[in-house]
Amino acid sequence: MSDFYAFFVRFLPDLLKGAGITLLLTVQGLVAGFVLGLLATLARTYGSKFWRGLAVGYIELFRGTPLLVQLFLIYYGLPGLGITLSRELSAFLALGLNSGAYQAEYLRGSILAIGDNQMMAGRSIGMSKWKTIWYVILPQALRLAIPAWSNEPVSLLKSTGVVFLIAVPELMAKAKAIAARTYDPIGSYLAVALVYLAMVYLLDAVLRWIERASRIPGFESEGKKA
């Protein structure tokens, strides 16, 4: 046990460097995925047939195939079409596109729950459809989505591990390097597991804070009823 402690302390700075990149990838992917997911779900819910089809196609494609396949297609496949992207950009694209498909589904559920009634109320005072979406539906739907959506940052954080396969120097890549250098895979992967665990714990705390801070008095019980 004290051996592991010494091992952990020794490699912690290196692991934290990787953790920084992991966190960066997570935040970037989450933000890109949120924008994409929001656009996709709005297109799917309120768009014309063309946009609806496009959105459904995107969501099904990226939810229906493994992240690793998407990553390899972008990093190793696109150069075949004359598009060569850096490791970091490939990782960012794969994570963002993948997360966007999941986030679209989280958001769609809550937009449907807020529903036609609020749309009708907005329209009844002369708001346009998109104004109603922006000022009435989204502020409620996004709040309603938070509990279910809270899975996504955690899940994405852990998914970033796969990008070590295209040699992005994130947390998992560091662990692999340390394992190779020290011939101690157990210590190395145990240490990395602890770092992931700590990051997930912190992330959860942030998400819980967001959920509390965005609460509307008297609204939660309404949401539960619906």
Binding site: N117, A121, S124, I125, G126, K131, V136, Q140, P217, G218
Partner: protein, 258 residues
């Protein structure tokens, strides 16, 4: 004879095989309160929604101040600022305080300067007697209070006509009075209103005209006196008799409980 402020000509609505209502001709003069009564499922609510274009119609026309608002290319959002609507389930914006519910249309639709909008929103809340609840969210208000905020929200747009779609049907009996009170006051102030309701007391006392609809048709219309005491059609008499008896019973039950 003045021109009606609102008029429907041959207005017709069809859902698939079902005709919801057919060839409805309705004229509403400025300052008039029209109450539409009739059994459920006769298209009264749908009629209101067709009038402010929330639902598409399948035939006929609607005129506001002599302009055909059902004409192709007419700006629907513009129309709905002029025809306010109050819903059975209030439909307040749940993420906004009572004050912001009233204000949002002023700032986001009318683009009113903020200070002016604030004053106006407060004035409308005052009008429905809820200035002291301005900071409350819908979830913190009673049903009656929510409905009064919804009325204030619609009034804030300075509509030419107000539509009420069974505004008290979702309320507990003890909360109905406060909403009807606000509506009666509006009628006294000569707001033009079309009210769909089962509240016969309100219809008798406040309406200038009552329209009895059944199975998608206007069966009879006239003053409250005409309809309550000298109905021309048996169906009108039957309906009024039934509903008065029903509500009489309710009143009695309430009395027994108290």
């Amino acid at each position: 004879m003045t021109n009606p402020i609102l008029e429907t000509r041959n207005l017709t609505k069809v859902y698939g095989q079902n005709t919801i209502f057919k060839n409805i001709d309705l004229k509403v003069n400025e300052g008039e309160t029209i109450v539409i009564i009739g059994p459920s499922g006769t298209g009264k609510s749908t009629l209101l929604r067709c009038i402010n274009l929330l639902t598409s119609h399948d035939g006929g026309q609607v005129f506001l101040d002599g302009n055909e608002i059902t004409a192709k290319g007419y700006n629907e959002d513009e129309v709905r600022q002029q025809i306010g609507m109050v819903f059975q389930n209030f439909l307040l914006f749940n993420h906004l305080t009572a004050f912001d519910n009233v204000m949002i249309g002023l700032t986001r639709v009318k683009k009113m300067p903020k200070e002016q909008a604030k004053a106006k929103a407060m004035e409308e809340l005052n009008r429905v007697g809820l200035a002291d609840r301005a900071d409350h969210y819908p979830g913190q208000l009673s049903g009656g209070q929510q409905q009064r905020v919804a009325i204030a929200r619609a009034l804030a747009m300075d509509p030419r006509v107000m539509l009420f779609d069974e505004p008290t049907s979702a309320l507990d009996p003890e909360l109905i009075g406060e909403v009807l009170g606000v509506m009666a006051k509006l009628a006294r102030d000569r707001m033009t209103m079309i009210v769909v309701t089962h509240e016969m007391g309100f219809a008798r006392e406040v309406a200038d005209r009552i329209v009895f609809m059944e199975k998608g048709n206007i069966v009879e219309e006239g003053t409250p006196d005409d309809l309550f005491y000298h109905p021309k059609h048996d169906r009108t008499r039957e309906f009024l008799w039934k509903i008065t008896e029903l509500y009489g019973k309710k009143e009695k039950e309430k009395g027994d409980k108290a």
